[in-house]
């Protein structure tokens, strides 16, 4: 690990499904303590990019670098690489057959070799932080969407990953519940977490992100500080996209 290399480096990543090219050569860096927001219309490849970074998809070209190490190489054990990353999915993906506590302690205990006591203590702290200290024994099906998503975030944080990936974490939630999840993410960002997130919440991206990247047609079209990309975009495609968002009353 070298100090000057970014936590995450995406280099010319290409991903195709069948004949369709979803990512057409994406380049992106995320540095330590940086929060990067990916914006773009549905189908622009935001989620696919996050899945590629987490090595859940085979790349068709390009590289994923974690702390300067190429983890997309087929000779590298993806499970080892994933230990440094946490991902939160759009539709929570909690394990319905496990209690909230077991969902959170699973990876620390089974993958990272933490003892049950330590894992449960850490889980209790995390649940406290996400405001669900009293729901440790509940099962996911008995929680609201916002609560489930906060548990999912706690699960991803349980082994203190260097990089947190958030895949449209609020798009399956109703507006009332969006607030509780966003304030949690805001707090994580304030604590210096390194975060790469795909989001439809432009106002949120503007407040929290250090950098906003606009994805279109499988490429990063525009990238920069939120005031610039969201306030005075250079590229015509970005302007079109933002105009549509403003017309829909979402900025």
């Amino acid at each position: 690990m070298t100090t000057d290399s970014p936590v995450l480096g995406v280099r010319g990543v290409v991903k195709r499904y069948g004949g369709q090219t979803v990512l057409a050569g994406v380049d992106l860096d995320v540095h330590e303590h940086e929060v990067v927001a990916l914006i773009g219309s549905s189908g622009s490849g935001k989620s696919t990019l996050l899945r590629c970074v987490n090595l859940l998809e085979d790349l068709d070209d390009g590289r994923i670098l974690l702390d300067g190490v190429d983890v997309s190489d087929p000779r590298v054990d993806a499970d080892v690489a994933r230990r440094g990353m946490g991902i939160v999915f759009q539709s929570f993906n909690l394990f319905p057959h496990m209690s909230v506590l077991d969902n959170i302690t699973l990876a620390p205990r089974v993958v990272h070799g933490v003892s049950r006591e330590d894992a449960e203590q850490r889980a209790a702290e995390l649940l406290e932080r996400v405001g669900l200290a009293d729901r440790a024994g509940s099962y996911p099906d008995n929680l609201s969407g916002g609560q489930q998503q906060r548990v999912a975030i706690a699960r991803a944080l349980a082994y203190s990953p260097r990089l947190l990936l958030l895949d449209e974490v609020t798009s399956a939630l109703d507006p009332e519940l969006v607030g509780e999840v966003l304030s949690l993410v805001r707090e994580l960002a304030a604590h210096g977490r390194t975060i790469l997130m795909a989001t439809h919440e432009m106002g949120f991206a503007r407040q929290v992100a250090d950098r906003v990247c606009f994805l279109d047609g499988g490429r990063v079209i525009e990238s920069g500080p939120p005031e610039q990309v969201l306030g005075s975009p250079v590229h015509e495609r970005t302007r079109q996209f933002l105009r549509r968002i403003i017309d829909a009353g979402r900025l």
Binding site: V14, G19, D61, P74
Partner: protein, 289 residues
């Protein structure tokens, strides 16, 4: 691997040197796995072959279990018996599916009115799932006709089939019930919210999902039934097993049993492959993105 490779070459626009090297590495890995699989299979087969043929009793065993002449002579009779097994299988299989679905539906009925029916179904399942099949065959095959009731058939094939239906309906009903109960309550809520009554909810929303989910288990029971059809021979019906026994008694050679056994295995292979295909299809449908 070959399919993926073919797809790539079609969509090949500009592949970087790095990716070309990675693909070559993956191809070499898959070639290596194939070679390892081939080697280990060969070693296993050779060791197995020599362990059996070098054993001291092998010549005797070969003569009394694997005599080609006896096998050929007994084949027509055993095949004719197998044809009976097949007919029993098809009739019983159909009956079992229908009856088991009914029993499962009764067991999942809610409401106090249905209590006696529910109790009856539960008692039936408990009794016939617990009773050893061979005892059930004797009771139905020899006990039932002995009552000399009017209308009770005394054909051993029919009686044997009835015993099989009684036993397997109990098993399959439990498989169906597990499937029905695995469908998430939200599905019932969604169907009821659209105005479907409980029966329509069950028939149009719950059962299709339940059956799809338990299909591998059902096919497993179907293969078990295929073999157990051979048990009607204990009542005296001349099926494949019985025919083999007759041939064995005539030739003092056990080869006909091996012939019958192999035919049963052959019968089970298509079902097993079909079950695999069904599970794979279900997996594909759930997987992807």
């Amino acid at each position: 691997m070959a399919v993926v490779g073919g797809q790539r070459s079609r969509a090949e626009v500009t592949v970087s040197e790095l990716q070309r090297e990675r693909l070559a590495y993956k191809r070499s890995r898959s070639r290596r796995s194939t070679v390892v699989a081939l080697l280990s299979t060969t070693v296993f087969a050779v060791v197995g072959y020599f362990t059996v043929t070098r054993s001291p009793g092998w010549p005797r065993v070969r003569d009394s279990f694997f005599d080609p002449a006896v096998a050929w002579r007994s084949l027509p009779a055993v095949l004719e018996g197998l044809w009976l097994n097949l007919r029993v299988l098809l009739v019983c299989g159909t009956l079992i599916l229908v009856l088991a679905l009914a029993v499962a539906a009764v067991r999942t009925l809610r409401g106090p009115v249905w209590f006696p029916l529910r109790l009856l179904a539960t008692a039936y399942v408990d009794l016939f799932r617990g009773l050893p099949l061979i005892i059930l065959l004797y009771l139905v095959g020899f006990g039932l006709p002995a009552l000399r009731l009017a209308g009770v058939p005394n054909d051993y094939v029919v009686l044997g089939g009835a015993a099989l239906v009684l036993a397997y309906t109990a098993y399959v009903a439990e498989v169906f019930r597990a499937g029905i109960e695995s469908v998430h309550p939200s599905q019932v809520a969604a169907a009821r919210s659209l105005g479907l009554n409980p029966q329509k909810t069950m028939r149009l929303v719950v059962l299709p999902q339940a059956v799809r989910r338990v299909l591998p288990a059902l096919l497993n029971d179907f293969v078990a039934l295929q073999k157990d059809c051979g048990l009607i021979s204990v009542l005296g019906a001349v099926d494949a097993v019985r025919a083999a026994q007759i041939e064995q008694a005539r030739s003092y050679n056990f080869t006909p049993y091996v012939v019958a056994g192999l035919l049963f295995v052959l019968l089970a292979v298509p079902s097993a492959r079909f079950a695999d295909a069904v599970s794979r299809r279900a997996e594909r449908r759930q997987g992807g993105r």
